[in-house]
Symmetry: C2
Subunit: 168 residues, 2 copies
């Protein structure tokens, strides 16, 4: 397989992959393109490579920057802005975990705290089932939260080694 074809396949699959995880196709594709690009790219480069509009490109680049996955690069002598993606995949994964934890897991845990305090007699089956479900989700959620916190701080080499001893 030729490089051009391989790159295209990777970009397109990464985009499809993203849509299964609540990330829009274009955002994932821009990320993929930057991941396989040795040099930083401009908005125009990205527009051209992916055949997308200026507005779309701009919005999704900014979103990637918000996620901490892409950053602006200043190149001396160049007027345009250049963009580059973090290439260390372990860092990328940690960054995504960190953001999703903050955006989704933490608010969910706060909601569960409030819902657990529902009024009513635990002898009522409806109440019991509700409280039990909420509590068990909360328990697992808290566990996940702590585990992910530790993972975010970990080094990849440590992670791979240590985790494999446990999950033998």
């Amino acid at each position: 397989m030729k490089l051009t074809e391989a790159r295209q396949q990777f970009i397109s699959s990464w985009g499809a992959f993203g849509t299964h995880w609540g990330i829009n196709r274009t955002m994932a594709q821009i990320h993929a393109l930057l991941l396989v690009s040795p040099e930083a790219l401009t908005q125009d480069d990205i527009m051209e490579e992916l055949n997308i509009s200026r507005g779309n490109t701009n919005m999704n680049i900014r979103e990637l920057i918000n996620w901490g996955l892409v950053e602006r690069v200043l190149i001396t002598g160049e007027r345009k802005e250049f963009f580059t993606a973090e290439k260390d995949i372990w860092k990328v994964v940690k960054q995504i975990v960190k953001e999703r934890k903050k955006r989704e897991l933490e608010p969910m845990l706060h909601l569960l705290d409030r819902l657990e305090a529902v009024e009513g007699d635990k002898k009522d089956k409806q109440v019991k089932t509700f409280v039990d479900t909420i509590s068990s989700i909360k328990k697992l959620g808290r566990q996940a939260d702590k585990t992910l916190d530790t993972m975010i701080k970990a080094e990849e080499s440590w992670f791979v080694g240590a985790l494999m001893k446990v999950f033998k």
Copy 2:
């Protein structure tokens, strides 16, 4: 907070939560409803509680069954079908992990295998960056794959205890 309100909030939040993870709102809501229902429900119960059409209800129940999160229950003397959700959240999580691994992670790893074999000189920066990126994603993906396999087999109590020793 009253039970009715709490249930509604849980169902609606679980639905919103799902949309961030590539799961459609209704499917997540039906799942939430069944999670907090002590008894198995019929299609009509679900339609009424969530105010959704028969077709929608039916399709999403079947999808939940495909995911292994909901099952049909036969109730003697009743003609209608009843549905119930697995209440053990650890089992639910393992089931979701198992399915997503099969549906997404494994196909992605196969793609990466093929893409890694791209033609071209590794002295070419484009080629080198492409191959390095693909390789490192693959490496981490394989690691995740193994780790998840072990997790799928694990007991919750074991998981919580043992993992916490590592992630101290």
